[in-house]
Symmetry: D2
Subunit: 439 residues, 4 copies
């Protein structure tokens, strides 16, 4: 064991207390109970702000940076969401400071020369209704979502809690560090809506190292991947069909059926041919059509996404989907309007940084297996940050932190092994010490 | 002109004041502004109760009669609806008296021997979002619906106002009448949900004459039909598809797609073959599927209706729809549950009563054309009352009161010529005098 | 019994021999065994020509009259069909005389002044594969179709045989008749393809009376309807989709899938909303798509029909079908071409003539029940003749001759009670005597 | 240049005459003009047999080996095909010798000890209609397919011609060779139907080396790949839907629509979710439904295929397709029967043999670029042979011979650069000399 390694281990035992880990789990369960979907994370942002400020981190709210024209997929009743957030425990004054857009950047300047390391934690939930039977641990142990149709079904509750615990560790270990640490609490990762606005606004500007991480990802607890490649490019889009309502019994011929147009479009979109150039994905995730039972449906709203291993492949799928939507509308003589709601690119981890992470993982308690790199099977708008940092000469990686899960990501029974949070916290802290530890 | 006729005309000029007609229009616009969908008509019921009670009618709330097992298609948050009704002007105490179910029966006993004449007025609205541009008169004149997704697009606002005006006229003309008059303010006619419960509960029990009426129906202002036949039998039903959610990008194969099952079912239901035995109709009026954009949709909810000129034809369509729903569910390996939400039968007006109405129409101001009978093209659960009264030896009719309309029934631009209300009021009053006028 | 009636009965017993009826059945079974679909009836035409000529009727082949531009839905290999007809027993020289188009007009001029009575018999078969098990009488008794995919499943084999037997009767009873009798053996009634060309060409020109008849029609043996109304207007059309083939495994994205476009079109065409103006029908009866299993299907051929109680209704359905086909093609980026293949109008029997028929039916052996008029539920291009004759002052009717059937019309197990042929023959002969009997 | 290499070059110039190459092209165009789909290659087999026998190769017809139970996807009218083959130039006696199944094995025994090298050439065509305009070279130069709906759109005409030219070369160079050479002319590769039966029957038994080759494959003329990996596993299957026919106008409700069931199945099959475990493919390549335009379609026949990078993935797609077919049948109350028509596994080339091929390619005239290995994007039932030879200790490879093509494989405008045939012939001959050349 080298001297540096010994020092790191001492540091861990010094700072990584039971108390911090316990608090991290408590916070994760609190976030889980009050999940907030993309762009509505007023409570999460406010709580994070309070904690970070109390620890001495310097805050910049996302609203101070983001340009309105870069914002995608934000269809919310902000005032109602702020009221809800306050009703669910957020400090009214902090909520007021958040401004229009949720999300937060916190920076710790050690005052010593050294690299700028930026870490991205996503904070939003999935729009699904959480399982409520006792077989589902959050239901059994009382931290099931109280927000209807919203659920932390992708582990971002854990990410947020890890980010805050890391902020605590780093603040306490400040004297052992040099350079700057920046924590980016990103809104609206689901639907890849928030990453573009925040990265375009310069949230990761100047970073020498950029780290994003995700719990689960199909890996068991204890398995760590230092890096990831092969993220799918993705375009999120809505289609709105507008037809003509009519009494379905007495004059059905006067209607223009938007529901059938949308149902046809959905079926045929899902049947878009695969591509020999690589993997593609398409999903019509939401369809809301019609007004009343006995009215020829005059409207339909569809939410969908197109993905591909490359930008060309995603564009192929999106292009075909647009053709299908317009053709289906023509079939029924209805109007169709398509609007882009989110978008992300692909990116790959830098091997040097991924390898460094994998090395650090070797001494992490409970880290049974480690790889340098793995292939992603989904999309993450952390890629916008990764690309931008890499283009400017920095190194970026996307760490996979294995976690046993009760069901797949986005499933209504998703739940993860909280031990994985301890592993993630220790790993990230060790990476900070390795990259920006005092020499 | 006979003596009776002369007396009636005198009566009209005595009672049918401008004031009553003006108040009828004012009330109609008030109901239009605060439309309430089936089983949520707390405000309408409360307002009607206050007015009727002040006129001396004896009230029976529907809740006092209805058996829970006869109630169909009632999926409401009653507490929230009561709060809304109160916020929109209903007296809290009256709302409390309404009880569980909306609707109201009012009776006027002249104290003199004579027939019991029952009249049905339906009070609920359609679930559609009202047009909001200035081209739409209710928007232009400030009585557009303030309740999102709800609209009086079938004229029941007019029916309710006519019923109340008739109550006023009858109360004033009490001395000229004999027997009893019963006004049934029925909830949840849309979706044919309320008629069965109320008629089964005996709301029209003992009636010698039963009259229902509808404005519009494709007839221009001034055209009156004394009776109607050929109502479509109808079954309203919901289908709920339950699949399995999964991340659409990273493990699509683990999902069981309820949206696609429902979309397939919708398309194929609409393609049910017509029947040589007579006209049939089917409509999938609502489809709400999926949770989030990037989740393989684990759920779908469909609202539909099957109709036929006879019970056999409606059963044919409903039976085929059930086959299709189950087959579509099997295609996607999802579960499907079908629940009946409303039902009505067919009925035909008694020619004797229809002819009487047509005769009375002859002297109604503005009644340019009159027929004894016409064919219906829709369904109405007034048929449950008609059948029941006819089975017990009474006479029943369903009057069509022509009204110019800005768009078809259930269309978001529906609006009717209010002059038709005057015609309806005069006609109904004359019928009351003819049937139960003092000799 | 009047003197005329007595004379008629005597006539019947004189001419309507067992031999004629036996020969009629033999011929019907022969036609049944060698069914010929629309425009390919070379054998049937040739056999009829030989018989009629031998009886002294004057022949005009359809080819001598028909204008090419009036011909619809003729996609045949005429040379191959002529060879087949000859191989199946038609005289080569007679086949040569038939010319381009099948069908035949035969006239008998009594030489005495009197009315011209025209009768239409359709001679083509349905394109369906006949059942082959012993439960199916034609299979059991050895006259099942030997022409693959073709079957007399609508009784035209019977019609043709009745027409020929009537020709024999009339020829024998020539001296008892006056005026002229014209028998029109029409090709391609299925798909309403031949009637327009033949009627436009003047085949029924100058007729004072026009009679068409059909066996079966849902009536049991012995039930006769003197007339029919409410035929559906109908348009027959094909749609051809042209896409781009590609290897389905190695480059699926390069294909343009015509099969999926056609399948989508078929589903959505069948889902065209019914019309409040009256009954409509639509059927996609054939779909033939793709080339090989592993090729993205570059082509699809669809055969369909639209019907309606009125021309407007049929046009509504056809118009919607065209929109759907073009929209479906756009969905898949394929080309679609629509071609009209047949068309017919509606017509109604003249009550005077229908009543005359019903009267004559009274004395027909086995005619247990008779009506003057009934509603049709299908289409028949005899309507083109009826309209034309009526427009020129003649009377027309379409007689329904009840016949018990083993299965519905067009079903592969269709077969009819041959007793109905005797009834039809006697009835038609009596009508001839009544209309054009010698005074 | 080594001595061996020099000897090979001498050999080439000695044997690889202009005459052989010219004859190879002539034969290719002849095969192109008379394409025969899987299991109907009577003419091709007969011609090959005559040529090979005249060259002194020992023949074994496939019928002598194949077990009936191993045959997949053989739905032919053998007698009619034999007649056609004879009409198109095959020797009747040779056709008789072929027996039930097409295909042929030819062996040349040098009489000297040495390895057994087996080469597979597939001989069947694709079921597609060839383009006929002058822009398509085979049409312009007069060797367009004369067999309707059949076309050599995958280059097997070239493969067969190359195999025969190689047989000629090897026979002439016999003295320079040792061991044995076996040429397998395999029927029914399209649809992966013939490979299993022939390989199971031991056609490649005892082979030390096994070589299959394919022209085109997306590589330009001059590009050679010594080996291939990643073939898709594939299952070919038919679905037959049996419903009930009925007259679409007069009693549509009595029908059970097999066309709509099949159309629904096709759409939903194409919409089977992709799999995170690797690439999958599905194609409904043929749909033939209905009988006549005005008959509710009582039948539908569908031909489809499922593919996957692994057996599990292909099974996933096939399993889902079966669920969908049964569900669609249930939707329409029709029967569905699914039958397997072909199947193949995956296989990978042995690197040692692939490298040897790539080395030999270095001296082939016109071979501008060479690789050792590439990824396949389709399926080939040569894999059955490859697996079997590899399991028994032999080496196997699947060579890609680049060829410029006018359109993609299986497209109706497919045509390849015939220069590629020269390259293939020289390469294969050099491989024979390298593997089994006399020392």
């Amino acid at each position: 064991m080298t001297g540096r390694r010994m020092a790191a281990e001492e540091m861990m035992s010094m700072y990584l207390s039971e108390k911090i880990m316990k608090e991290m789990r408590r916070r994760r369960r609190d976030f889980h109970k009050y999940p907030e979907s993309g762009w509505t994370e007023f409570r999460t942002t406010a709580l994070a702000a309070q904690i970070l400020e109390s620890l001495g981190w310097k805050l910049t709210f996302a609203s101070e940076l983001i340009r309105a024209e870069d914002v995608m997929g934000r269809n919310i009743d902000a005032e109602a969401e702020r009221r809800r957030a306050i009703a669910q425990g957020a400090e009214p004054l902090t909520v007021a400071r958040i401004g229009e857009y949720t999300g937060l950047i916190a920076e710790l300047d050690t005052g010593r020369e050294g690299p700028l390391t930026a870490l991205r934690f996503d904070i939003d939930c999935v729009e699904t209704e959480e399982a409520e039977d006792a077989g589902h641990l959050p239901a059994r142990e009382g931290f099931r979502s109280v927000n209807r149709g919203r659920m932390h079904a992708c582990g971002h509750d854990g990410h947020t809690a890890i980010g805050l615990a890391l902020a605590e560790l780093a603040a306490e270990a400040r004297e052992a560090l040099r350079g700057k640490i920046r924590l980016i609490f990103q809104p609206a990762e689901e639907g890849v809506r928030g990453g573009y606005a925040l990265s375009s606004a310069g949230a990761a500007e100047g970073a020498d190292y950029f780290i994003a991480m995700h719990l689960g990802m199909g890996l068991p607890t204890g398995h760590i991947c230092g890096g990831t490649h092969g993220f799918l490019c993705s375009t999120k889009f809505d289609a709105d069909f507008r037809g003509i309502g009519a009494h379905a019994g007495s004059e059905p011929e006067r209607g223009r059926n938007a529901l059938l147009a949308a149902a046809s479009a959905a079926l045929n979109i899902q049947a878009i041919a695969p591509h020999s150039g690589g993997a593609t994905r398409v999903n019509v995730g939401r369809l809301d059509a019609g007004t009343g039972r006995n009215v020829v449906p005059p409207r339909a709203h569809m939410e969908a996404e197109a993905r591909g291993e490359s930008g060309e492949l995603a564009a192929y799928v999106y292009g075909r989907a647009k053709e299908i939507i317009h053709g289906a509308a023509e079939m029924y003589g209805v109007e169709a309007a398509i609007t882009k709601q989110g978008e992300t690119v692909s990116a790959a981890s830098d091997e040097a940084l991924a390898a460094l992470v994998a090395e650090e993982a070797a001494s992490v308690k409970g880290a049974a297996r480690r790889d340098i790199d793995r292939a992603a099977s989904g999309s993450d708008d952390a890629c916008w940050f990764m690309r931008r940092v890499q283009e400017r000469g920095g190194l970026a990686t996307y760490i996979g932190i294995g976690a046993d899960t009760a069901a797949g990501h986005h499933n209504d029974r998703f739940d993860f092994d909280e031990k994985a949070m301890d592993i993630a916290l220790e790993l990230l802290f060790k990476c900070l010490l390795r990259i920006g530890g005092r020499r």
